[in-house]
């Protein structure tokens, strides 16, 4: 069975803790420390996610408007990252390690500030959570690929409760960083290699924005293997406005967006796919886009990971699923919401958003390998 993760050189570890042995640029001691610490941080993160909304006054939790400590103003207190500085990368691998492709990974929302709306680049606690969230998921993608993952001024969780025009100011701001990081990566690190874009939740949103901006560019089109945008949405309206992007319709179509978000059968709307909206999804058990039901026997294994990337629990044949014909969301058939709770208060009971990649971990892992092979065949 494939390992769920592999370790990487993490350039932002303090100098005093890191060393290079010439071939392998990571520090075993540090990684052991990180693994121990990450378990704690993962628990802390879950507590933050679950606790913050319970602890705070409901006027804060249900507050859709921007609120801050300043009257109408530009704060200017959070400078953009300088991506030529290696410390601006959570993951930034060696220039050549012999692997075939690259993964440009965009982390999900880990920033749960109550008093502001943007991740601060000097906040080491949030940066540790940021790194942990990448570790949890990156094992799906990195079997034969280098990983690049930028820190970015991501929108805090509270932004998702805001009125759209305010939320978009923060999400677009986050995207400006991601785009800048991607352009720097393409210029400085890519070297003509094929690339997978991957992200979860806010990270998926960012990846879809990259696809909208870069698809149609010959150089990008020739290098993109696929965009795994898990835990977000793409609507038919978006597709009609961006003629160059395509949704995945099979297990091996190249240059496409793989997208789905999970929920129980009873859910009617979430912040990801609100009621009345329909997303274009693919079923990771069948790699089909119709609404046919996929038995759980097709599930190669759900993997539950921690902040170190370690698989703490693996369950083959975990659940079946089908795409809801009305909402395009992936309906999960063999899981009870009481067992896999929503974790985030901004989600309704029965949302499995936080488990999107965990429930289908092995299927996704296999599919990444298949799409890389398909890309190789196409570009012989």
């Amino acid at each position: 069975m494939c390992p769920a993760y592999k370790y990487y050189y993490i350039p932002n570890i303090p100098e005093s803790l890191s060393f290079s042995n010439g071939e392998c640029q990571f520090n075993v001691e540090v990684l052991v420390m990180l693994k121990k610490g990450m378990l704690f941080l993962f628990t802390l993160c879950l507590l933050c996610f679950t606790g913050i909304c319970e602890a705070c006054d409901s006027s804060v939790c249900t507050d859709n408007a921007a609120s801050s400590d300043a009257i109408m103003s530009y704060s200017g207190r959070n400078s953009p990252p300088d991506y030529s500085d290696r410390r601006s990368g959570a993951f930034l691998e060696k220039d050549d390690d012999g692997s075939y492709a690259d993964v440009f990974f965009v982390a999900p929302t880990v920033c749960t500030y109550r008093d502001s709306h943007v991740m601060r680049m000097d906040d080491e606690v949030v940066k540790a959570k940021f790194l942990g969230s990448i570790n949890m998921e990156i094992g799906i993608y990195n079997d034969d690929a280098r990983v690049f993952a930028p820190y970015y001024r991501q929108a805090a969780l509270n932004v998702y409760n805001m009125e759209p025009k305010y939320a978009e100011q923060y999400l677009n701001g986050a995207y400006l960083d991601v785009k800048s990081a991607f352009e720097y990566y393409m210029r400085r690190h890519n070297g003509g290699r094929p690339v997978i874009l991957a992200g979860f939740s806010q990270g998926a949103d960012m990846c879809i924005r990259l696809m909208k901006d870069f698809c149609g560019n010959k150089s990008f089109d020739s290098r993109i293997i696929a965009c795994y945008a898990l835990g977000w949405r793409v609507t038919a309206d978006e597709l009609s406005k961006h003629a160059n992007i395509r949704m995945a319709e099979s297990e091996d179509d190249v240059g496409t967006i793989v997208c789905f978000d999970c929920e129980s059968e009873a859910v009617k709307g979430t912040i990801i796919i609100p009621e009345g909206m329909k997303s274009l999804s693919i079923n990771p058990l069948t790699w089909r886009t119709d609404s046919s039901y996929a038995e759980k026997t097709l599930n190669r294994g759900a993997c539950f990971t921690d902040y170190s990337g370690e698989v703490t629990k693996e369950v083959p044949e975990f659940t079946g699923a089908y795409i809801c014909p009305e909402r395009g969301v992936l309906k999960i058939t063999d899981v009870r919401p009481s067992e896999y709770t929503k974790v985030l208060d901004i989600l309704p009971d029965g949302s499995y958003h936080v488990y999107d990649y965990m429930f289908f971990y092995r299927n996704l892992q296999e599919n990444v390998a298949k799409r890389i092979e398909a890309y190789k065949r196409l570009h012989k």
């Binding site: 109408m72 305010y166 677009n172």
Partner: protein, 252 residues
């Protein structure tokens, strides 16, 4: 669209301030001013009306639909809200910042540009379209945010103290722009501290104190010396000036 609140209540933990059993209806265009002393519950009320704070009791109806079950994009077409405070971490250009107002209906920086420029011109800051918001004065930035709120195209515009902290000219520019919106049929609901401004610009005013509605009606009916004493605890003389009832504080 009729915006209606029924039996609306929200009490803040700790301070105990808030709104109690508030009923009101807003429709047909006009500027509706909500006035009261600090801590009276104005901002809480207006944030519930905008769908930002969920009432602990009662409901807000936009037409026949409960504000809190309307999906965000649909709600954005009904109500556009400008909060009292807003701080942006990203230095967009003025035009970009205004364009976010069209996000719910068209997506960022779509064909909205020309409409956004029109509104900036109407507010007298068309020449600042390409200026970074980090380089704008407080008054200019506030006008840009008013423009952002307006270009959303919602039937009802809700603003929490839109002219506080601004100089007289900026206040005048913003209030006259909002008046044009009201004349065109939009409902403009705002909180305001300046009684004279409210008297000049509002078509209807609501006085609240300690979370309770004290008076609701035209400026002529509500701006009485008794009401002002009761709500603001000040002795005022109300004088007629050019058809307006202007309250003036008495000399001590």
């Amino acid at each position: 669209m009729i915006l209606k609140c029924e039996n609306l209540s929200y009490i803040h933990k700790g301070s105990g301030n808030g709104i109690h059993d508030f009923d009101a209806e807003f429709s047909g265009g006009g500027i509706f001013g909500i006035l009261g002393p600090n801590g009276a519950g104005k901002s809480t009320l207006i944030r519930m009306l905008a769908g930002c704070v969920k009432p602990q009791k009662g409901r807000v109806l936009a037409g026949s639909a409960d504000m809190f079950i309307i999906p965000p994009k649909r709600r954005a077409s009904l109500v556009s809200f400008l909060p009292q405070t807003f701080s942006c971490d990203f230095s967009y250009t003025c035009l970009e910042a205004v364009s976010f107002g069209r996000y719910a209906s068209e997506g960022f920086m779509s064909e909205a540009g020309s409409r956004c420029r029109e509104v900036l011109d109407e507010l007298g800051i068309g020449h600042l379209a390409d200026r970074r918001i980090s380089d704008m004065s407080g008054g200019e930035f506030q006008k840009a945010m008013i423009a952002q709120t307006a270009v959303q195209g919602a039937e009802c515009i809700i603003l929490d103290e839109p002219v506080s902290h601004l100089d007289a000219k900026s206040q005048y520019d913003i209030m006259s722009y909002l008046k044009k919106q009201a004349v065109s049929g939009k409902s403009v609901i705002l909180t305001i501290h300046d009684l004279s401004s409210a008297a000049l610009w509002c078509d209807r005013v609501i006085f609240i104190r300690n979370g309770l509605k004290i008076a609701d009606g035209s400026v002529r009916d509500v701006f009485t010396e008794e009401n002002i004493k009761r709500v603001f605890s000040i002795d005022a003389q109300v004088i007629d000036y050019s058809g307006c009832r202007i309250p003036v504080a008495r000399k001590i």
